[in-house]
């Protein structure tokens, strides 16, 4: 499933134009990204929670040369699936 499929389904079900729905879908993704970039969490009941986690700096190895490379600390987006959705997927 892609954005296109989601947009078409929603346009069909709401009577909104595909253009209006596509814009809302893009904004949905963009605003979640912006919130995470600001370090904010987003909790969506029955779906899951988008969060930002800190990864500590560490030493890694270049697997080709075996050379040690420092990996700086960084922030990564994570999504924790809600129990409701987990159970729904597990039961089907």
């Amino acid at each position: 499933m892609t954005k296109q499929d989601i947009v078409e389904d929603i346009a069909l079900r709401t009577g909104l134009t595909k253009k209006e729905v596509a814009e809302a879908v893009e904004l949905f993704l963009k605003k979640i990204g912006e919130a995470l970039a600001e370090g904010k969490h987003l909790e969506i009941r029955g779906f899951g929670t988008f969060k930002v986690k800190e990864r500590k700096a560490r030493m890694a190895r270049n697997p080709r040369t075996g050379e040690a490379v420092p990996v700086p600390e960084r922030r990564v987006p994570v999504f924790k699936v809600s129990k409701v959705l987990k159970d729904r997927v597990a039961l089907t």
Partner: protein
């Protein structure tokens, strides 16, 4: 941030009413959830993808009684962030020199 705040932000940007925006947001979530239930994956360019993984059946122990219990195999949904989203969240300040910069 809550779903209500997210709806508010989208309504401001799109010019749709809050009511219509709320319906669209619920339908986005419903579409993703339904796809995952059907074992389908959802790829959202520039954001990430939602997929389903199979966890193998295993034997576990009831920590209280020590009895061995069979845990059946099951499907679990997960999200993989796109390189774009990862770069956005990490910010320009801490991006490593060895990592390829995402657009």
């Amino acid at each position: 941030m809550t779903k209500a705040e997210l709806v508010e932000l989208i309504a401001q940007g799109s010019g749709l009413s809050k009511k219509d925006t709320g319906v669209v947001v619920d339908l986005i979530l419903e579409n993703i959830s339904r796809a995952l239930c059907e074992g389908d994956k959802v790829e959202l360019r520039g954001f990430g993808s939602f997929k389903v993984k199979e966890r193998r059946s295993r034997k576990a122990r009831n920590p209280r009684t020590g009895a061995s219990v069979d845990v059946p195999s099951k499907l679990v949904p997960y999200f993989k962030a796109s390189n774009e989203l990862k770069a956005l969240v990490d910010g320009p300040s801490s991006r490593g020199t060895s990592a390829p910069a995402a657009q």
